[in-house]
Subunit: 88 residues, 2 copies
DNA sequence: GTATAATTTAGGCATACATCTAAATATTAA
DNA sequence: TTAATATTTAGATGTATGCCTAAATTATAC
């Protein structure tokens, strides 16, 4: 659990929006891209960052790559933040 | 609640360590500094970032500035992260 | 009011990050 | 096996971040 990497990934608003989208349902890169005004390479970079942080996972289906949220990672992250300030 | 600013502040390990220290008790800048191997100006910069994010507050006592944690900000942040993926 | 102490502000430098264009890779379809 | 589609990788550029030294600020103590 690399808190640094995860928080870094979460700091970008586009990436939080991607997470929100994927929380409704898994999508391929093209479908995600329709919600943004950035180039495909930029989006790809964001997806790589999220994957690196273990916040999403990728699965190929034909020529598309489908992205899915890894809820547990975000849930554990929230918990770790709270643990920072646990009195005990 | 500027999630961007808060998450940015939380991404740095030194700043998370400061938060952890302050969760035990309020401290002045000098006392905080003893736990780190960085210069006073660098520490001051971290404290300013945390203050900007509303994660800590500052109060002058004589020639020291005492820093205290603002727990609610971190608590709300954890909640907002979970809200990102709420099925609802 | 001058020196001392605690901390911040200013300015500079190196590294990290977000974005872009162009080129490469992977998969299907003709 | 050539063309088309979906997506990534490579390389470049501007901005943000973290650290440093030096100077400024704020408050107490001689």
């Amino acid at each position: 659990m690399y808190l640094n990497e995860i928080l870094g990934a979460l700091t970008d608003p586009s990436r939080r929006k991607i997470i929100k989208l994927l929380s409704k349902k898994s999508l391929n890169a093209g479908q995600i891209g329709k919600h943004f005004d950035i180039t495909a390479p930029s989006l790809s970079h964001h997806l790589a960052t999220l994957r690196q942080a273990d916040l999403v996972e990728q699965e190929r289906q034909g020529r598309q790559l489908i992205y899915s949220l890894k809820r547990q990672t975000l849930e554990k992250t929230a918990e770790q933040l709270l643990n920072l300030i646990k009195t005990k």
